[in-house]
């Protein structure tokens, strides 16, 4: 299968972009930073080609469906959205330093995906729905935004600590980071992108469940965990407008929120069971 070859190449490219972003932070060389961004972009281009090729190949096999329906495909799509959302945020807010914390995600996710079965399989009837695409796409772009916010929130915590101990920042990577206010703001802005998307993702999922099974909410573990993630980010949003919860506590909630997101996505399948088709690695 040629799509796997392209996916394999993208893993390598993502690996190099991660190395470059970390070196950029370590050596603080602008040109390294530029190369890091271009490498990540190259990874995205290769992966985009791979995804479309897989889509095309599924049609050649007579199955014909968007590549979004099993664990492998969802991991691949997740890596792709994290990289794209990060590139957009980096460009918009000029925070290349967050790259060292975000660029490992596409690499690790792709490397993990390469360990899961990747044949193109036909869809069981319940998954043959247009709601599937809107549900999966909105959820995953939301998750990707949360991943970026997670990286930025980490930076925020480092930076705030450094700011309270003045004088020691110069010459370390901490001095190179944007101010804690900017990091707080970017952390919030990315969640402000992710939260509505997750909301739409949960609603389209509920709508689809209602069409397919006649219940929009059945408290299955996947649904419940997506609600948990949603509640944590709702708490984050209100924490940020509360005196005394702004800053540190909000950043912690963003980190907790993304940990819950990862659990919702992978932990539920690997540890808990449910209706969802990504179940196990079968």
């Amino acid at each position: 299968m040629t799509n796997s070859l392209l996916f394999g190449i993208s893993i390598f490219v993502y690996f190099f972009s991660m190395v470059l972003y970390v070196s950029y932070l370590a050596f603080r060389s602008e040109s390294l930073g530029k190369v890091a961004t271009l490498t990540l972009l190259a990874g995205v281009v290769v992966e985009t080609a791979a995804i479309f090729l897989r889509w095309f190949e599924s049609y050649q096999m007579g199955i014909g469906r968007a590549p979004l329906t099993n664990l492998y495909e969802s991991l691949v799509f997740f890596a792709w959205t994290v990289a794209i959302v990060y590139l957009i945020i980096e460009r918009k807010f000029k925070i290349k330093t967050a790259g060292a914390f975000v660029s490992p995600f596409p690499f690790i996710i792709m490397a993990y995906a390469s360990l899961t079965p990747n044949e193109i399989q036909p869809l069981v009837p319940a998954l043959q729905s247009n709601w599937l695409i809107s549900h999966v796409v909105t959820c995953f772009v939301g998750y990707a935004a949360f991943a970026v916010s997670f990286g930025v929130s980490f930076l925020y915590l480092f930076k705030v600590k450094a700011e309270t101990r003045p004088g020691k920042q110069e010459g370390t990577f901490l001095g190179y980071l944007p101010s804690s206010e900017v990091l707080d703001e970017v952390g919030y802005k990315t969640i402000a992108i992710g939260f509505p998307l997750l909301t739409i993702g949960i609603i389209t999922g509920a709508f689809w469940a209602n069409v397919a099974w006649g219940t929009y909410w059945s408290w299955d573990p996947k649904e419940t965990w997506s609600l948990i993630v949603w509640l944590i980010y709702a708490a984050y949003l209100h924490a940020r407008i509360t005196k005394g919860w702004r800053g540190n506590k909000a950043a912690l909630l963003s980190i907790v929120g993304f940990s819950a997101t990862l659990f919702c996505y992978l932990g539920v399948n690997l540890i808990l069971s449910g209706l969802h088709s990504y179940g196990g690695t079968s």
Binding site: W131, P196, I200, V211, G214, W217, I228, W245
Partner: protein, 460 residues
């Protein structure tokens, strides 16, 4: 102060304090986090399983304790429901508290840029022009009109001519949308659970039903009948089902009112009741058995309709087909293929129930007879999930409002912008401009700076 008043004072203090807690964002944050932790518990302890599964997992005392605490059906427990109710009260209190403030934001604003207003504006500037005032007015209103679509409110006072622009006034309502929509969703869920039902029914191909089994095990009569005209399945090459569909007719007073082929993801609705394709299967209609005597010689075939006793030839023994399994598992877990469960009635003794194996006739000797399963005539049935949920439209309405409200809250704001034109002592045109917004002030400051820059360039 008289004693009486003091008591009253104290009471209002307490009420104020409780109110203060209810509208505090701290409570919201804590409540949302408590709800998420409780929900986690509900996914770790699997909910609503058959009791034997819990006894398999935990010690009996533990199961009883969990059941008593409501942890085996916690999403319906009093304490989980109370947390949701508390959240609802919290939202109502917050909405009441913010109502006047939001309404104030919607009231007709000051359309005149007077000194007091000017002093309060952060992003404002003064520009002098040596152009005729008509030219200046034409050019700068053209620029401002591009950013704030729509005509300005123009007011002439003795201090000069004032232009007022406004955009996104109604986005101030986003608070109501985001928060009240959650109450609407709750309302929909409550309506559905009080007035709706969830049920299940199997219909054999060609047959008609007029009642369904609901969760609690009792039957609910429908006001109409539902007929399954036919049922079909397509398979992929690997044997997985690709598509299954039932051709259904709704029949009322003997007449067909709707006919539709339903499939997974494409249900049929009639009078608020929806039928979802959920499962399928087949059950035997008649089974043909060859009966052999002690010596192995054939005594002939019998055709046994399911559930009816038929005579074994040349004897007073009767046999009845009562059960059927497509994939039968032996005690050691191995699969033995298709089996038919029969009861053998010998005069004067209790009936004997045995399994007859289609693939292993050698295992089918029972007393003086042995049996060969010759043919099983199957009939297909379709399994339908049946739901009535009169609250579901509220859930979707609330959902749409929620998304709209969140989008508005995050990506839109109420912007106000004023321009004042006057003549200074030397007779030059002096323009003062500035604006305010309720959200995302950094971005707005940049926008205003851009506008003012364009105003400056007018005289070039």
């Amino acid at each position: 102060m008289p004693e009486d008043n003091k008591v009253k004072q104290k009471q209002t203090d307490v009420i104020d304090k409780i109110w203060g807690i209810f509208i505090s964002l701290r409570l919201v944050v804590i409540l949302l986090l408590v709800l998420s932790v409780l929900s986690i518990v509900g996914t770790v302890i699997e909910q609503n399983k058959p009791p034997q599964e819990y006894y398999h997992l935990f010690r009996p005392e533990t199961v009883e304790l969990l059941a008593k605490l409501g942890l085996l059906d916690m999403y319906h427990s009093w304490w989980f429901t109370s947390c949701l109710a508390l959240l609802a009260l919290n939202i109502i209190a917050c909405t009441m508290e913010r109502y006047p403030l939001i309404m104030k934001g919607l009231r007709k604003p000051n359309t005149v840029l007077d000194e007091k207003l000017e002093a309060g504006l952060k992003d404002s500037a003064k520009i002098r022009y040596s152009l005729p005032s008509e030219t200046v007015e034409k050019r700068i209103t053209a620029i401002a009109g591009k950013t704030f679509s729509g005509a300005p409110v123009v007011t002439d006072t003795e201090s000069g001519r004032h232009f007022f622009y406004e955009k996104g006034k109604y986005t101030r309502l986003s608070f109501f949308l985001t928060h009240l929509s959650i109450l609407i969703i709750f309302g929909g869920a409550i309506t559905g659970s009080l007035l709706g039902f969830k049920g299940y029914v199997n219909i054999n191909e060609g047959e008609t039903i007029s009642a369904v089994k609901v969760r609690q095990g009792q039957n609910t009569d429908l006001n109409f009948s539902l007929q399954c005209n036919s049922f079909n399945v397509d398979y992929y090459d690997n044997g997985a089902p690709k598509d299954y569909r039932s051709d259904l007719s709704v029949i009322r007073n003997g007449k067909e009112v709707i006919r539709k082929t339903i499939r997974v993801n494409d249900p049929l609705s009639y009078e608020g009741i929806t039928f979802y394709q959920s499962s399928f299967g087949s059950i035997p209609e008649t089974v043909t058995l060859e009966i052999r005597g002690r010596d192995g010689g054939s005594l002939g075939n019998v055709v046994a309709p399911v559930g009816r006793q038929v005579d074994i030839p040349r004897s007073d023994v009767k046999i009845e087909v009562a059960d059927y399994r497509e994939h039968f598992h032996m005690q050691d877990g191995s699969e033995a293929g298709t089996v038919v469960g029969v009861n053998i009635y010998r005069p004067g003794t209790a009936p004997e129930g045995v399994w007859l194996f289609e693939a292993h006739p050698d295992m089918n000797r029972h007393g003086e007879y042995s049996f060969v399963v010759k043919n099983i005539q199957l009939k297909k049935y379709t399994g339908l999930q049946v739901t009535k949920d009169p609250g579901v439209w509220m859930v979707w309405t609330g959902s749409v409002l929620l998304v709209a409200g969140i989008m508005m809250a995050f990506f839109m704001s109420h912007k106000k912008f004023w321009i004042r034109m006057e003549k200074d002592r030397k007779g030059r045109v002096e323009v003062t401009a500035g604006g305010t917004t309720n959200k995302n002030k950094h971005a707005f400051a940049a926008e205003v700076a851009g506008l003012i820059q364009s105003f400056r360039e007018v005289s070039k």
